[in-house]
């Protein structure tokens, strides 16, 4: 009872801690104003001074919509109005892109501020845009000192907006992240839009140099922003300023200059707080049960049929006078499944040494060959039969997946082993191997932690170690108290606590879904969003 209370208290303490750890405020999102998302700029290169408006088309306004109603352009000199109509844009008006339209207001006076909005009477309803402003037209002669005539129907490239620059979170420094709302001219599949150039300087005044470029489109659909990580020769502690230029049909439009941003190293990856807490619980539980096991406490471990059958399978091969094949998967020694598979090889090798049964271990990785030889050699030594060992028990075939499958299949067909073990990481070759073994009537024991391959092994083999059973094999077969303790800790600490937490969060998420509370679902999603 006391233990249950302690467990309950632990969960009560851990739960708020988890929520506190992950409740990190997300960065500010870009601002959009559907359905039009109206923006305006002072027309570049226009020596007379004008304002160019850009907005996104309403649903139904496309190349074949000749009867689509006109957009009315409304202007005012104050945000609250009154707005007066200054023009309209209809079907025949040139389109900026497939999804957006532009209008140039030339009846403006340089130095005055203006506010704009768009309206459209669609199916008896007036749909209005956001109000954009204030915007003051600047004559190109003052701003750019160039004289390029701008026609009323010329399409203008719009700059990226809302540029933010900040130190890339959770990294070892040497990187600054840029985030901006994409240019209004950045339309999907546009042949005219040529992406963005990134310019950087150590001073707001410049000089700026180009440090990178990227394609158009958004990186984060939810926040409607484009994100880019600049890691080119960034010095930690140095201040950097940036601007982004949108490129469109030979034109460029620059964003505002943003900065300063300073790159720094972080001591803790804040996105992995939940992982650390959960891992801490698991490790604590494993260590606790290892200590209990060392103190001599009896630990109950359920029977695993696949491992119980190892002795029977080796005995059968001995009776039949045929070989045993041991296939340790097609991954290298850096894969935990391969290591788990090799721990079972030790047990099998010891039995074959005792029974004087022929063992063959064809491998697909050189390092696995070396490790497997060491294991088999030690097993033969422990069985008192070092004379029976030779290096050719473990041999290399090929690193190639299907080459290896073909090689093992050929050996199985020709040598007809009585028993075949498949223990480790397998991919598409799993069924090719297992079905070939099945066709010669061999007793087959498989074990893998590749969920997609498990059904194949279950269908074709006599016994299958499913996922965690493969990792439990070493403890199960050796009956070493410390290993059994770790197994118990994994079961109790891991499964019991994790599943309790899963149940609690399922209840919270369900309540959140029914109450339509976005905070609950967002918090849970952020908590388990492993970065």
């Amino acid at each position: 009872m006391g233990k249950k209370v302690a467990l309950g208290i632990c969960i009560i303490i851990i739960l708020p801690l988890l929520i506190w750890l992950v409740y990190l405020k997300p960065g500010p999102s870009s601002v959009s104003y559907p359905p039009y998302d109206l923006t305006a700029i002072s027309t570049p290169f226009d020596t007379a001074g004008s304002v160019t408006l850009n907005w996104f088309c309403l649903e139904g306004d496309n190349d074949s919509a000749a009867t689509f109603p006109n957009y009315n352009i409304l202007r005012s000199q104050a945000p609250e109005g009154p707005f007066e109509g200054i023009g309209s844009v209809g079907f025949e008006y040139p389109r900026a892109t497939d999804i957006s339209r532009q209008y140039r207001d030339t009846a403006v006076v340089a130095g005055f501020s203006y506010y704009y909005k768009i309206s459209c009477d669609l199916q008896g309803e007036t749909i209005e845009s956001n109000i954009f402003g204030p915007i003051s037209p600047v004559m190109a002669a003052e701003a750019a000192k160039v004289e390029v005539p701008v026609d009323k129907s010329d399409i203008m490239v719009f700059p990226p907006t809302q540029l933010r620059v900040f130190d890339t979170p959770n990294d070892a420094g040497g990187s600054i992240t840029l985030e901006w709302k994409v240019s209004a001219s950045d339309a999907a599949k546009s042949l005219l839009f040529n992406g963005y150039d990134i310019y950087r300087s150590t001073s707001a005044e410049g000089p700026f140099e180009k440090v990178g470029e990227t394609t158009g489109g958004v990186s984060d659909v939810d926040r409607q922003v484009k994100t880019l990580r600049d890691g080119k020769d960034i010095i930690n502690g140095q201040e950097y300023y940036y601007y982004v230029a949108a490129k469109w049909d030979g034109q460029e439009a620059n964003s505002e200059i943003a900065g300063p941003a300073v790159s720094r190293q972080q001591w803790f990856h804040t996105g992995r707080g939940v992982s650390l807490v959960l891992l801490g619980i698991l490790i604590g539980s494993i260590l606790y049960f290892i200590n209990r096991a060392k103190a001599g406490k009896e630990l109950f471990i359920r029977k695993i049929a696949g491992l119980e059958a190892v002795d029977e399978a080796v005995g059968r091969a001995t009776e039949m006078g045929r070989a045993i094949f041991y296939v340790p998967g097609i991954q290298d020694m850096n894969n935990m499944q391969t290591i788990a598979g090799l721990t079972i090889l030790g047990r099998v090798a010891k039995l074959t040494a005792e029974y004087e049964t022929k063992l063959e271990v064809p491998v697909s990785r050189s390092l696995v060959m070396v490790a497997a030889r060491e294991i088999v050699k030690e097993a033969y030594l422990n069985a008192g039969r070092p004379d029976y060992y030779n290096d050719d028990i473990v041999y290399y075939l090929t690193d190639d997946q299907f080459g290896y499958a073909a090689g093992v299949d050929g050996l199985v067909i020709r040598k007809k082993p009585a028993t075949v073990f498949y223990q480790g990481a397998f991919f598409a070759e799993s069924l090719i191997l297992a079905e070939t073994g099945n066709s010669i009537g061999a007793i087959q024991i498989a074990g893998t932690a590749m969920p997609a391959q498990l059904p194949f092994f279950v269908a074709a083999c006599d016994y299958t170690l499913i996922g965690e059973e493969l990792f439990a094999a070493s403890a199960y077969l050796s009956r070493e108290p410390k290993l059994l303790g770790s197994l118990k800790g994994q079961d109790l600490g891991g499964k019991l606590i994790f599943l309790s937490l899963a149940l609690i969060f399922v209840i919270i998420a369900t309540i959140g879904a029914f109450s339509q509370n976005a905070v609950i679902s967002d918090t849970i999603q952020r908590m388990f969003n492993v970065n």
């Binding site: 041999y395 290399y396 073909a406 932690a449 074709a460 070493s474 994790f498």
Partner: protein, 217 residues
């Protein structure tokens, strides 16, 4: 010492990778990158061990005229053919470039052979399914029914034979229900078990409790 040095190295490298997962600050990233590089270098050198072992065993089979020794001849010829063509007959190009002798062997021999092996999977799936989907008992019958619904539901035939039913009860929808709920729930349970198993095994190896992969008990 033969056992202790690998255990100490494993412990140091394992703890470094563990800490680096949570601490991006120097020197953890540099250390983990260095250890990864070392692993890659050791693996690259180890390929020689494998290649030489393959040749040794194949030559022995031929020399001793073992049973099926002609398969060993095929192995030896293939091995040296690709090696020699790749090293000496690339026509002044990089051996991986399109049009080189190595590329020709890769495209015209290796790729079709690999594809053939992969294609065998279709026949093996059929024979394994035939065995697995026999209604021997209640559980196997449930499996058979689920398999029928999923397979039929993935084809137009499934909806054609259930066209008279409400949309939610047609085979395509039932197939999706089985795949998205029952199957996903089972898969996730297995995945959680696997993740816990990997953490537990890693911990045993890092702490030196698990030694069987080094040839110990």
């Amino acid at each position: 010492m033969r056992r202790e040095i690998p255990l100490i190295l494993t412990g140091i490298v394992g703890i470094t990778f563990f800490v680096q997962f949570f601490v991006p600050h120097s020197p953890m990233r540099e250390l983990s990158e260095t250890f990864s590089d070392w692993y890659s270098i050791i693996s690259a050198f180890a390929i020689w061990l494998g290649g030489l072992n393959l040749m040794k065993i194949s030559f022995e089979k031929v020399y001793k005229k073992d049973k099926d020794w002609f398969f060993a001849v095929t192995t030896i010829v293939s091995f040296f053919l690709i090696l020699i063509v790749g090293l000496f007959f690339s026509g002044g190009r990089q051996y991986l470039e399109q049009g080189s002798g190595y590329d020709w062997l890769y495209r015209n021999i290796y790729s079709p052979l690999s594809a053939t092996m992969f294609a065998l999977l279709a026949f093996f799936v059929a024979s394994a399914s035939y065995r697995a989907f026999r209604a021997r008992n209640a559980q196997a019958t449930v499996l058979l029914l689920a398999a029928f619904i999923v397979m039929a539901g993935r084809t137009p035939f499934g909806d054609w034979i259930t066209v008279f039913l409400p949309e939610g009860w047609r085979l395509s929808n039932l197939s999706n229900v089985i795949m998205n709920y029952f199957n996903v729930a089972g898969q996730r349970a297995i995945m959680i078990g696997i993740a816990l198993g990997i953490v537990s095994t890693s911990l045993r190896i890092i702490l030196g409790i698990e030694r069987s992969h080094l040839g110990g008990e």
